[in-house]
């Protein structure tokens, strides 16, 4: 527990002291929401939850994808492996600090929406948080895959290349009434269906849940494969 607290603390301090990471991560989704959807009268709650999902997506891609790619190239990471703790302690620390950042970033969107008079009824908040968390898992795994698959210099453009296009094409920007006419099989589209349903803007779809679970499996396998390949190269 003491180790986990120290890992989370160190991870948060490091991230907070990089304004180039922390400010865009925390404020960009809320700002984007105000610019893109803040004045819209169409689907206000659904668009708010969509931008909250974009906030979580950003943390998943940048904290896991870029963060892992950056750290695994550092001798410090190698040094930490000589300490008497399993790598899982460090991974758990990273997950918890990402969760805190994701909550803060999604919370900023909710606050921005609140300032515009858009809010979810209290009874839906639990389902909303659950849907966000559910979607965070496959994208965190996709982030892990990126982090272990490519070097740090390639991870940043790759994460950028995937982040906003996936968010847009999945309909997280536009809301349920005007989603882009693109394959419904996109993982962000399944997630969007779930967060909209959690916000009471659309009926719950079991097929979206199944699709997201399938994506979770695919990204999970990819993450394991990329991790093992990297471990094999660096530590065998």
């Amino acid at each position: 527990m003491r180790l986990l607290a120290a890992e989370v603390r160190a991870s948060l301090l490091e991230l907070l002291r990089y304004p180039a990471y922390s400010i865009p991560t925390l404020l960009f989704p809320a700002t984007l929401y105000l610019v893109v959807a803040g004045r819209s009268r169409v689907d206000p709650a659904a668009r708010m939850v969509g931008f909250a999902a974009i906030a979580v997506l950003g943390v998943a891609f940048f904290q896991f994808g870029v963060g892992i790619a950056h750290e695994r190239s550092r001798p410090w990471e190698r040094y930490l492996r000589t300490l008497p703790a399993p790598p899982s302690a460090r991974v758990l620390g990273r997950v918890l600090s990402a969760l805190i950042f994701a909550c803060a970033s999604a919370g900023a969107v909710v606050l921005a929406a609140g300032a515009k008079g858009v809010a979810l009824p209290g009874s839906l908040l639990g389902a909303f948080a659950g849907a966000l968390l559910l979607g965070a898992v496959p994208f965190a795994l996709l982030g892990v895959s990126i982090g272990y698959a490519v070097p740090a210099r390639a991870a940043i453009p790759l994460a950028n290349l995937l982040y906003l296009p996936l968010a847009y094409l999945g309909g997280l920007w536009s809301g349920p009434r005007a989603p882009p006419h693109l394959p419904a099989a996109l993982p962000t589209r399944s997630w969007a269906d779930l967060v909209w349903a959690a916000a009471g803007e659309r009926a719950f779809s079991i097929s979206a849940l199944v699709a997201l679970a399938t994506w979770t499996g695919v990204f999970g396998l990819t993450a394991v494969w990329c991790y093992r390949r990297d471990e094999g190269e660096r530590f065998s």
Partner: protein, 336 residues
């Protein structure tokens, strides 16, 4: 069977502890084993089988429950015989505890056995045997590319040998519990750039069960003035001093120093040497890789010379040197 497996695992885990805790744990284990094998099994079967039969049965079972069966059969017979002769359970308990402590304290804390390691077409280590014992400063010397850092990586579980075995306290070094009493100063030092020195020290301390207090570490390695500075703003020498403090954060019994004095000024180098000597005086072991032969002369009890991935010489400094200067002897060995 379960009890034996548990006891075996516990012993191996506890071997990674510092000597005082180790001695206590081994004594406790010896007591429990004697209470069971001699107090319960031997005494219990004596009535039915007679003293000799019960001794044979209990010793055989004692041997079967351990990995090295023949050795344990013999020790079981000895402890059982002692119990039968004295008639007191305290005698085999004391003998068993003394035996355990003696064996454990003479075992190498780190060892490579017939290790081979290749990186694609190049051979990094070829049939290398290496042992570090308690209270010993072992210097691993050799030219660049001789395999020194690979040997250290294998002993720390950062790499796997292609053949042979690497062990830390009798355990696979990949297992975290094998590294509980180990401190490391890596060759390449990179601290988290945004964390302050005191935060880095606290992060590393959190990995250990009984860490050195932060003020003690900072004072011991002259880091008080650096405590509030961020890792990214430190010079190479300052980073090395921090790394040295981190290596001692968990009160290690064995420290790995991989070319620790590269880039250090005279004062920092003296601090390093003082720390190594103090560590050795307290019974700690050190594996030092270095290019500085004056460091070897000043610190090492034993020297292993590596060249082209093979051990080309081993012994004390005097044995390696013979009648020549150490530098001449070294160059002669690595040029062969």
């Amino acid at each position: 069977m379960t009890a034996a497996l548990f006891a075996g695992a516990a012993r191996r885990v506890l071997c990674a502890r510092p000597p005082a805790a180790l001695a206590f744990a081994l004594t406790l284990r010896a007591t429990l084993e004697e209470l069971f094998w001699r107090g319960l099994v031997l005494a219990g079967f004596s009535l039915a089988l007679g003293a000799v039969g019960a001794l044979a049965l209990s010793s055989s079972a004692f041997g079967c429950m351990h990995r090295r069966r023949r050795l344990h059969l013999v020790t079981g017979l000895a402890f059982g015989g002692l119990y039968l002769v004295t008639g007191k359970l305290l005698a085999p308990i004391v003998a068993h505890a003394a035996y355990n402590v003696l064996v454990c304290s003479t075992l190498p804390v780190a060892e490579l056995r017939q290790v081979r390691k290749r990186f694609r077409s190049s051979v990094a280590l070829d049939d290398v045997d290496l042992e570090v014992r308690r209270g010993e400063v072992l210097a691993l010397v050799g030219p660049n590319g001789a395999g020194k850092s690979t040997a250290v990586s294998l002993l720390l579980g950062l790499r796997r040998p292609d053949a042979g075995t690497a062990k830390l306290y009798g355990l696979d070094p990949v297992r975290p519990e094998a590294r509980r009493a180990v401190g490391v100063v890596p060759q390449e030092i990179d601290l988290p750039p945004a964390l302050r020195v005191r935060e880095i020290v606290d992060l590393v301390r959190a990995h250990h069960a009984d860490p050195e207090p932060r003020p003690v570490l900072l004072e011991r390695f002259g880091l008080e003035r650096l405590a509030g500075r961020q890792g990214g703003g430190l010079s190479l020498g300052e980073r090395r001093r921090v790394a040295l403090a981190l290596a001692f954060a968990g009160r290690p019994e064995l420290i790995f120093l991989d070319e620790p004095s590269a880039g250090l000024d005279l004062e920092s180098r003296r601090t390093l040497w003082r720390a190594v000597r103090t560590h050795a005086d307290r019974g700690g072991a050190t594996l030092l890789t270095t290019h500085h032969l004056d460091e070897v002369r000043a610190l090492a009890d034993a020297v292993v010379v590596l060249a082209g991935g093979r051990v080309v010489a081993r012994g004390t400094v005097d044995e390696i040197r013979g009648s020549r200067q150490l530098e001449d002897a070294y160059l002669e060995l690595v040029r062969r």
